[in-house]
């Protein structure tokens, strides 16, 4: 890092702006990448300690695999110029062309981080029971094919959805719903965790093992969202401020109203549900943070907060989604997308925009739903048939950490004064349990 940049040639403001754009988008991408540990912690916190390593590992792999396959093929499917209105193709295989200039490289990185996000949403829905190798396949196809195709429809500049007039600024539908619908199919096809439903069919509580992890994860996601939404301006413009502000207001209202809703319903201000509420507010504003603003953003977040509580309580009766990802990313993703057609400045129903935008929004939501349900449904179906889907009953009971990764995620033997058990005459250590 020897500094020898001698700028003898005068910079034009355009060149400088271009550098500023790269700096901004790079930092936005870093914030989006920070969302990976956010997701990991939310999911880990809301599930049981015997599966904690497995959850963390899946989140590592989501980004390791995600960025690799997005580089190899995904970016081509999303943005390749040789494609049509359904899918991109060509130019970018193995990062070809995509990495020539700083602007392209940073765009690629920003998009790759998004791909990782879409993939990671799935891991929450099928937590605590899925085979790890099967998950790797899902993660690969999510980031490499399923997500990129939807991206092409909307953000490539020549996709059919954007041509239609569908609006999804930062991905309520394109990112979050895609992840959630894939997760929904996964959760349905893999079936509920052992013991989730009583003999009477009623859902039971399976408390997550660490609320502080879940809340820390939520906060990290909130922070990361300032890369996700403002970064989606894709350039350093003053509008990033408004986008960030609306994101904040919606998240805040989401948390407040989710807390209120669960408090009224169950008599207690549940912490995990409130965290889901914040995330619901974030997902809800993501489709239109540039055109839903101020008090409307509060309203959007508030509705998302109530909606996520209702949705979690309702879905829990039928589908076992340990972390509520389907409600947060799917249901609130749909709501957020529709909210553009209702609250969006100038275009929304309530803002003098007539019914055009809301119609486009409905079409987009349905199209993406249908596509992902179909493709992800087939994928999980095939995995099931190939016996790559669900661990055995014994493995599930023992926990995926021991069964799939060789040992527990927490080792407490030494906390309990048993340290010298590792000091014995026998040739191997005899750790006391867990």
């Amino acid at each position: 890092m020897v500094s020898d940049t001698q700028e003898v040639v005068r910079l034009s403001t355009e060149e400088l702006k271009s550098i500023l754009d790269v700096v901004f988008l790079l930092l936005a991408a870093v914030l989006v990448i920070l969302m990976q540990p956010g997701f990991a912690l939310v999911e880990a916190g809301l599930t049981r300690g015997k599966n904690v390593s497995n959850i963390m590992m899946k989140n590592i792999m989501d980004f390791c695999i995600g960025s690799t396959v997005f580089f190899i093929i995904g970016y081509s499917l999303a943005y390749g110029a040789d494609g049509n209105s359904i899918t991109g193709w060509g130019t970018y295989f193995f990062g070809g062309n995509a990495t020539d200039s700083g602007t392209e490289a940073v765009n690629f990185l920003f998009q790759a981080a998004f791909a990782g996000t879409a993939a990671t949403i799935v891991s929450g829905c099928i937590a605590e029971r899925m085979k790890f190798p099967g998950y790797l396949i899902v993660s690969t196809l999510m980031a490499g094919i399923i997500y990129p195709i939807v991206v092409h429809w909307q953000w490539s500049g020549n996709g059919w959805l954007s041509d239609l007039g569908f609006y999804d600024f930062a991905g309520s539908t394109v990112v979050h719903s895609v992840g959630a619908w894939a997760g929904l199919m996964g959760a349905i096809i893999i079936g509920p965790r052992l013991g989730k439903y009583g003999p009477d069919g009623k859902p039971r509580a399976i408390p997550g093992h660490s609320i502080p992890f879940a809340v820390l994860g939520m906060f990290i996601l909130w922070v990361g969202w300032y890369g996700f939404n403002p970064g989606s301006v894709l350039a350093a413009e003053e509008s990033i401020a408004l986008v960030a502000l609306n994101t904040t207001l919606s998240a805040a209202a989401g948390g407040l109203f989710a807390m209120g809703a669960i408090w009224v319903y169950s008599g207690k201000p549940d912490v995990a549900m409130t965290a889901n509420g914040v995330l619901a507010g974030l997902v809800g504003i993501t489709a239109g943070p540039d055109i839903i603003s101020g008090t409307w953003a509060l309203l959007t977040g508030g509705i998302a907060g109530i909606l996520v509580v209702a949705s979690v309580l309702f879905l829990d009766k039928y589908v076992d989604d340990p972390v509520g990802a389907i409600s947060v990313h799917g249901v609130c993703g749909v709501f957020g997308t529709l909210a553009v057609g209702i609250f969006g400045e100038e275009v929304g129903l309530l803002r003098g925009g007539g019914t055009d935008q809301i119609s486009y929004q409905i079409i987009g939501v349905v199209a993406v739903f249908a596509f992902v349900i179909l493709v992800a449904g087939s994928l999980f179906g095939i995995l099931k048939a190939a016996n790559l889907l669900r661990v055995s009953r014994e493995e599930e009971l023992a926990g995926l950490d021991v069964a799939e990764h060789g040992g527990p995620g927490y080792s407490t033997s030494d906390m309990m004064g048993l340290s010298e058990t590792t000091l014995t005459g026998s040739g191997h250590t005899s750790h006391i349990g867990m």
């Binding site: 021991v402 060789g406 040992g407 191997h428 250590t429 005899s430 750790h431 006391i432 349990g433």
Partner: protein, 112 residues
């Protein structure tokens, strides 16, 4: 008075609690313990190195029972917790000289 102690597989606890209640036994004390016996532990790996986990998680149940209820307790435990696989555990009975309920000072069978 007898003290019935049982070592059982943890996942049988909830059913056992219900069965005991139905059988009229309304008190017990449980402890998380580790067992060593015919049921072998297993091998785990950490960063590529194997290590032995020799002790298996078990639940230890203690029930103070009067002479009449003793056999009911034993039968209920053995029936409810038996899975037929190695490691199901043991039941043993020891004599008790005296029992006191701290709250009331009641003694022996009145105390349980």
């Amino acid at each position: 008075m007898h003290l019935i102690t049982a070592i059982i597989k943890p996942h049988r606890l909830a059913d056992l609690k219900n069965a005991l209640q139905k059988a009229g036994i309304n008190g017990m004390t449980i402890t998380e313990v580790k067992g060593f016996g015919r049921q072998k532990g297993h091998t785990e790996t950490y960063r590529g190195t194997e290590y032995e986990v020799s002790f298996v998680p078990k639940i230890r149940i203690e029930i103070l029972a009067s002479a009449e209820l003793k056999d009911t307790a034993i039968t209920t435990i053995s029936q409810t917790t038996k899975t037929g696989t190695i490691g199901d555990g043991k039941i043993w009975v020891t004599p008790v000289e005296q029992v006191i309920r701290i709250r009331t000072g009641e003694m022996d069978s009145d105390a349980i």
